[in-house]
Amino acid sequence: MNADLAERVLEEARRRADAAEVIYEESEDHSVEFENNVLKGVSADTARGVGLRVIHRGRIGFSSTTDPEALGRLVDNALASAAFGQEARFEFPATCRMPQVAVYDPDVAEFTAKQGIAMVRAAIDYLRTQMPDLHCGGGVSWSLTRRRLLNSRGLDVELQTSSFEMGIEALRVDEDGFLEVGEGRGWRRPTDDLMPQTRRVAEKIRLAGRTAPPVAGQLPVIFAPKAVGVLLASLAMNTNGKYVQKGVSILKDRRGEKIVDERITLWDDSLVDYAPGSLPVDGEGVACRRLPVIEKGVLCNFCFDLQTAGLLGCESTGSATRSFSTMPAPSHANLRMEPGESSLARMIPEMKRGIVVDQVLGAGQSNVLAGEFSLNLDLGYLIENGEIVGRLKNTMISGNVFDVLNDLVAIGQPAEWHGSEEVPALWLRGVSVSAGG
């Protein structure tokens, strides 16, 4: 199997179907992994596969394979699927004007397992020198992907991407129980420095050394950037064109309306050089872009792929996400919330009494579409008299994302990248807190 095979598949498919699109992908992933302070393994994964989407008699069909022996059935399977498939509300694009954005760094191809091993080992040594009881794990993974997308209207796009992820985590076990803190970063370029994340882990474990007395009631809560993603999940889901088109988004009819505090501006930005979610062209050959989702509290845009947009009579936003083995579906690229004037360091003394949330358990378990959250503080601190006095345990916070984002005290700066989201700290005026025994 190779990229030329995509042409052969397209050739056969266009003979038998009204229109066709072939996606071929090959990837190479490497990783080194530490567990319990020692190197556990070095691994490599190569993969290749081909997906075929057809439009035949007005309907969409799809099939994929990684098995060269099954290639002969690929067109048959796609056509069989098109017998039932959705009515197509789009045409494959014939051309694509790709914007400039860097998504490939050749240094990733040069990165070696030895470098990865050295940087994680240095991080673990640092943590264990300070706190010998810690059980540390971590790893580095890096990958290169090549994608070719062709369709029967003449589009032929090749795309090469790289990615690089690293993480460090530490587990502390004592009479009081467990504490696991992890920090990491994903980017499309490599680094050999895991120390910023490692120092943060050490700092958090120190802060959690004391246990704070339980609190309950309505309290102000600061979501540290790492925890803000839990709140963003409701915004992301409700502004995803798929949920809008299905009619389940609670924001589906609210474009142009103020939905959250006017200090909140949220971008879906595919054009940040080397950011994890960045791409110049989406999975259907539509150019990617930078799109405001919420501007000064007002809902602006949903993200769409071709079919979802077609069903609603609007345009694709270049948000089709897929692999060779899946049909496209819309999703955001990088979600970026604009930072505010305050900062975590200023919020804590100003807040006097309240909670800082850093890691939570139970994200996604509540009704995310409705905006509801009910979270156990995996790592959260009590603030008394403007200072962190210790870690809160056995504590739950609950509320509704849309309520709390309409009752903001302040937004922090800078915004930090966590996965494909860039988010600042948020100080919420009042969140319901319940405490266990």
Binding site: S64, A80, F84, G247, V248, N376, M396, S398
Partner: protein, 454 residues
């Protein structure tokens, strides 16, 4: 194929080496609302090599099987890089076996049209159940495949696996109030289990609509009765994961915590993991290290008495492998996993425990859950207040949280109505999910559980 594998193994420069080859065809049908989102067949093949050399593991996966000898070399090279480690593998007798799948009705024999039409009918039933039903998700999946496992000790096992299941989701909406209800079946029994689910379609639709009128539960401490599904989730999430040997095998404190003979729960509570139960979602004959499956009693009358092992963790702890090394697919090395995990039947009945509860919550079904080994949070799909020994008002957003050890001790009633729940979902661990498993148990009652809410 056997010749290619044996030759490659024989040429390897390693202390131990194993090869797995996965081949599968899958069918998927998915309706979301009115639209058919997915219908069709996919196929895949892939392999992996895991090599142990001087105490270090190397792992390589690929899907150009014809180049197996090259990947055997790469895996040995990766292992050499790790080198100087302390990894070993416990002894296990070599095995040769060919295991056939035994579904009552093979989904391979059912045409795509029949699978499509069945889903279309269920989807119409859900969507048409009430004007308040906003959307639906009906998802069918089957997988017909085989896994070959071979190692340098002479083991060569071919296992056929045929899995089939369906999941039904109803979403009801009233203004900004959106509620969902869900039902899923999925295991190794064959296509029959996805037939005749018309009643379940109506039930999920009604439940979603009824939840619209339910009030959020008030946060606080309650006596809680879990239904069999939630009991199973609790057994799996909160206790089962602690019983996986890789949780504690390299941590002295955790090892001390998990000492056999220690009391963990009330004497009413026994927890068992058993891949040999026939045709459940988590059943198999051999694990992904070629070890024969067997039942393991984890908790016997509240006393810790067993844990789950791979050959790797068994060697570390000087215990016997239990046949719980499982890999999600060819791109993953096997790690310690559960199979069919359940709380064993107890002496009580649901009716009696309800009657004996003056004030509490009956928590039913499962939306999601998470643990950090010590604390857990589980969200029930729906809940009912219990007042004076009877089921009362329906409540929603019932999220249970607490300390695992305290909660296991606080179980004071266990019924006899064990159910094993499989489904299209599964277990996630170490990036490997969803892995087919079942979890089960009877109704149980727990004292003094923290329920989050406003």
């Amino acid at each position: 194929m056997e010749e290619l594998i044996q030759k490659a193994l024989a040429a390897a420069q390693a202390d131990y080496i194993e090869v797995r080859i996965h081949r599968a065809r899958t069918t998927a049908v998915a309706f979301v609302g009115q639209e058919l989102e997915d219908v069709g067949e996919r196929s895949g093949v892939g392999g992996c090599v895991r090599a142990l050399l001087r105490g270090g593991w190397g792992f390589v996966s690929f899907n150009d099987i014809e180049h197996l000898p090259r990947y055997v070399g790469l895996a040995c090279e990766a292992a050499r890089l790790v080198g100087g480690g302390t990894e070993t593998i416990a002894n296990a007798p070599p095995a040769r076996a060919e295991v056939r799948a035994t579904p009552a009705e093979n989904p391979d024999a059912i045409c795509l049209m029949e699978k499509h039409d069945l889903c279309a009918r269920y989807n119409r039933l859900i969507l048409g159940a009430s004007p308040k039903i906003q959307t639906s998700v009906v998802r069918y999946a089957d997988s017909r495949g085989s896994v070959i496992f071979a190692n340098s000790e002479g083991t060569f096992i071919t296992q056929e696996v045929i899995f089939c299941g369906i999941s039904l989701l109803a979403v009801a909406k009233d203004g900004t109030n959106v509620q969902m209800a869900h039902h899923s079946v999925g295991d190794l029994r064959g296509f029959g289990i996805v037939r005749n689910l018309e009643g379940e379609c109506e039930t999920v639709a009604r439940r979603a609509v009824d939840l619209l009128a339910a009030e959020p539960v008030r946060g606080g401490r309650y006596t809680v009765i879990l239904d069999p599904k939630l009991t199973g989730v609790f057994a799996h999430e909160a206790f089962g994961h602690l019983s996986e040997a890789d949780f504690c095998y390299e941590n002295d404190r955790l090892r001390a915590l998990m000492t056999f003979g220690k009391r963990f729960g009330s004497e009413l509570v026994s927890v068992i993991d058993d891949p040999t139960l026939p045709l459940l979602a988590g059943s198999y004959a051999y694990d992904d290290e070629g070890t024969a499956a067997r039942p393991t009693v984890l908790l016997k009358e509240g006393i810790l008495c067993g844990r789950l092992h791979s050959r790797v963790t068994a060697a570390k702890m000087d215990e016997a492998p239990t046949g719980n090394a499982r890999a999600l697919g060819h791109t993953y090395a096997p790690i310690v996993r559960m199979s069919n995990t359940y709380v064993a039947a107890g002496p009580h009945s649901f009716e009696a425990m309800l009657a004996e509860t003056p004030h509490g919550i009956y928590a039913v079904g499962f939306v999601g859950g998470q643990t950090n080994m010590e604390m857990f949070t589980f969200t029930a799909e729906e809940g009912y207040l219990i007042e004076g020994g009877r089921l009362g008002r329906r409540v929603r957003d019932v999220t249970l949280t607490g300390n695992l050890f305290e909660t296991l001790t606080a179980i004071d009633r266990v019924a006899g109505d064990v159910q094993h729940v499989g489904g299209l979902g599964g277990c996630g661990k170490g990036g490997q999910g969803p892995l087919r498993v079942s979890s089960g148990g009877p109704h149980v009652r727990i004292r003094n559980v923290l329920v989050g809410g406003r």
